[in-house]
Structures are given as structure tokens and as C-alpha cells.
Amino acid sequence: MDLPRTIKYEADRVAGFGKEVMSVPGCENLQSCIQCGTCSGVCPLSIYMDYSPRQVMALTRSDFKNEVLRSHTIWLCASCYACTVECPRQIRITDIMYELKQRAIHDGIYPKKFPIPVLAKEFYKMAHKQGRVTDNWLATWMFLKTNWRAALGMWRLGLGLIKRGRFSFTYDSIRQKDQLARMMQTVDNLSIDALTDAKPKRKASH
């Protein structure tokens, strides 16, 4: 039988990770977390999580970057903000989850075949390219990229949408796509320094 060791050594920590996250605007209060578990207590999705939101806070603060960014928890967050408004230390947990998601995508260490980051990336691409998002196509692409069998399971829903005139067969998009592209290019071109207090570790493009 293969028994994995659960001990953590100092080498398992990524020094400075917690501080980096806490330097992002809105994430500062994490330092004052008292590990009361209110976030997990109110989170409707905590019952599916590998680490509870409280544990994610503790792991982040203690520099366990790999554990946090590989966790399912950050992807299960539906961003309903229940934890954020209930936290007795006014830690903006939802915003921290967003920050962790961005870092996971950036570092490419989210759980493979996990549809949520794929959805996020597809959403990003479509919004970027078209300026708008056509929801039914977004869902279609996501299923094709993760689990095409699941897409088959959705045929009934798709058909229902078509029948009820809620399915868009073409992409919706804005007129001035080039304008939006220029704006995004500007963001990419801006040096990292300009964003130090906004995004300490942000890279120019994804």
C-alpha cells in the first residue's frame, strides 16, 4: 500500500507568496484572519471543496502556493460573496479567490481537464475577440475542450433553447473590435511597474 506522507517541510513553502497576495488591493486583511471558519460555514459550495475556504486562507498566508493553486476550492467559488460580507475580520475572501485563480491560470497549474478554468479562458478569449459573449457558444466550446461526452448530455437543453428561440446561431460582437483590441494592447504594453500596487506579479500577456 502506498501511504503518502502528509508532513510539510519548509522547502514546500514558496517564500513571499502570501505577502504577494496580501499586497493586492482588497486582499490586505488576510493577515488578520482568525481561522474562525465563518467563510466555510456560509459558503454554499464548501461541501464540495478539497480545502475549505478557511484552509485556503491559512495556506495562502503560510506561503503554501502549490497546494493552494492546485486546489479545487478556488475553482468551485461561484463568487456569491457570502463569505466576504460575513467575515468578522472583513477579509475580502471572494477577491482573494479571484487573485488565486488568476495566478493559477498564469502559472498553468490548475487541475487538468477541470472545466472551470477552461470556461474562464474561453470566456476571456471570446470577450477579447468579439467584445461580447454568446453564452450558448461559450458552453459548447467548453464542453468540446473538456469533456465532449458531457456535451452530448446537454443536447436536450440545447434543443430546448433552440425551440424557444433562445439560441444564437451567430456570434454577437461589437462594431469597433479594433478599438477594443487597441485598448487591450495598451494594457499589455504598460510596464509591470505601473501596476505594482494593483498586480504585483502580473505578466504582460497570457
Binding site: L45, A78, Y81, A82, T84, R92, T134, R156, S168, T186
Partner: protein
């Protein structure tokens, strides 16, 4: 009263019945809405997970378009858009560097944003500007016998609760009562519907929806009123799957604007009710009565 109007992608897509009902109802109340020209995706939830700053830039383009259009306030009926636009306003206010980046990006489009366009939800305007007395005056078919579970969803009251209480919001309750319907006590008013998880991870996502549907039935409701296109989609579109996984919990979910339209005497077709999966016989009967 004239407002700028940001429909958002959903209201042009699977949530089109929201727009179809909202526009005529507001017109009937004398509220004019002018759609932003060439608006773009708000930079929603999923986008934020990839790049928050770019999400802010996307949202800011819309805010800047609204400022250029010149009406005092911007209406955003989709909860996610409402949240993202407000969140962006907060970021722009709090962080000089985000302000800097957004400013430079907007320059590329010959746009600018000074931070002065309030983003409001139609329900907020309805209660606090139009007033329920005006609404009552236009009710021709009171929604008698309709037992409504008022479901606000999460993002409209959290975390930037401005027009209603974040624990026990009541604006929708009061609106339903003004329309002649009755409200059931619904403690899950602001519980998450599962959001986009219903599509990506059906088990946890649909459980959230299931709980809301089950509890609405348990409390004697015959319809759920909502104000978010994603909530409506989740609570209305997945009954087959939910039934297969748990029990049948068939109860229709409609937009508040649709209830208003019916009470004002507009037809089900005009309100886009034919686009929903679950029909509402009870509603039809009472409206006709």
C-alpha cells in the same frame, strides 16, 4: 426620467425574455432607456478570474460610453454586470494605479471616465425613483392567488449592497405585493443558485439550484421571481437533470419584469414567457381572472 441602458450579453442571448419584458414595462411607467451604442461585455465573473485589470478596462469602456451618452445614470439589469460595473467603480476609486491603466487604455478609444456615472439596477429605480404607488396605478390584473418566492440571488445585494438590505432584502417582496401577489417567507432569498457551475460542474452547481427550487415548493410558492438572467436560466433550464439526480421540483422561475407586465395587462407572449421551460398555469389563470 431617462437612463442609459447596458443590457449585457445575456439579455441578448439566452436571457432575452428579460429584455423583452423589461423594456415595455418601463416604457409604460414613463422610464426611458437608451441603449449604449456598441457596448461590450462587462468583463464578467469568468473574465475576472483570468485578468482582473483587463476586466476593469472592459467595464470602464462601458462606463465611459455611458458618460459620453450623457444621461445621469446607467441601468444594468443583469446582476453580474451590475456587480462588475460597480466593482470597477470601486477599484477606480480606490487604486491610483488601476485608474492610471484604465485611463491610458480609454485614451486609445478617445474615451474618458471621470467616475461620475452611478450604476443602478432597474429594481432600485422602480422602488426608489418610480415608486410603488406609480406601479400600483398601472396594475390592471392583480396577481391574485399567486404565491411568489422572491429570489434575489447573490450578486445584487453582495458585496456592494446599496439599495437593499444584504441579509434580508425586501424590494422585490414589496414589488410583488404591489402587483397583488402574495409573498412566501423565503430564507434562501440571497443564497447562490450555483452560478456558472451548473454548466461546468453539474453536481455541485445543480445542487444549489435544487435546494432553492425544493425549498420554494416546500414553502408553498407556485412561482419564483428573480432579477438575474443566470439565476433564471439555472432554476428554469435544468429540471430534467435535477429530477434525474434528486426529485422533481417543477416550479416556474420568471423575471420580476414579466410579473409586472402580466399585472399591467400585457400578454404572456409579449413578456417572452413562451421562452421558458416551465410554464405557469397558475399565473395565466390568475392574470386572466
Amino acid at each position: 426620467m431617462k437612463y442609459s441602458y447596458f443590457p449585457g450579453c445575456s439579455l441578448k442571448g439566452t436571457g432575452r425574455s428579460y429584455e423583452e419584458s423589461l423594456l415595455p414595462v418601463f416604457k409604460a411607467l414613463g422610464v426611458e432607456m437608451e441603449e449604449l451604442d456598441d457596448w461590450n461585455c462587462c468583463g464578467a465573473t469568468a473574465y475576472m478570474a483570468v485578468d482582473e485589470v483587463k476586466a476593469c478596462v472592459m467595464a470602464s469602456r462601458n462606463l465611459a460610453l455611458a458618460e459620453r451618452l450623457g444621461h445621469a445614470e446607467l441601468l444594468a439589469p443583469c446582476s453580474a454586470c451590475y456587480l462588475v460595473l460597480n466593482k470597477t467603480k470601486h477599484y477606480l476609486h480606490d487604486s491610483a494605479s488601476v485608474r492610471g491603466v484604465v485611463g491610458q487604455a480609454l485614451q486609445q478609444a478617445d474615451l474618458s471616465y471621470s467616475g461620475n456615472v452611478p450604476v443602478r439596477h432597474p429594481l432600485d429605480v422602480l422602488i426608489n425613483e418610480v415608486g410603488l404607488d406609480e406601479v400600483k396605478k398601472r396594475v390592471r390584473h392583480p396577481l391574485k392567488g399567486l404565491k411568489v418566492a422572491p429570489y434575489y440571488g447573490c450578486q445584487i445585494v453582495r458585496p456592494y449592497a446599496t439599495f437593499d438590505d444584504q441579509y434580508n432584502p425586501t424590494t422585490l417582496d414589496r414589488l410583488v405585493e404591489a402587483l397583488g401577489g402574495s409573498v412566501v417567507r423565503f430564507p434562501l432569498k440571497t443564497r447562490c443558485c450555483g452560478g456558472s457551475l451548473t454548466g461546468t460542474l453539474p453536481e455541485p452547481g445543480l445542487l444549489c439550484s435544487y435546494i432553492i427550487l425544493k425549498e420554494a415548493l416546500a414553502r408553498g410558492a407556485n412561482v419564483i421571481a428573480t432579477l438575474c438572467p443566470l439565476c433564471q436560466f439555472n432554476l428554469d433550464g435544468y429540471h430534467d437533470k435535477i429530477t434525474r439526480k434528486w426529485d422533481p421540483v417543477r416550479i416556474p422561475t420568471v423575471y420580476f419584469s414579466q410579473l409586472m407586465g402580466l399585472a399591467f395587462g400585457l400578454s404572456e407572449k409579449e413578456m417572452g414567457l413562451h421562452r421558458h421551460f416551465i410554464e405557469m398555469p397558475a399565473l395565466a389563470a390568475s392574470a386572466a381572472a
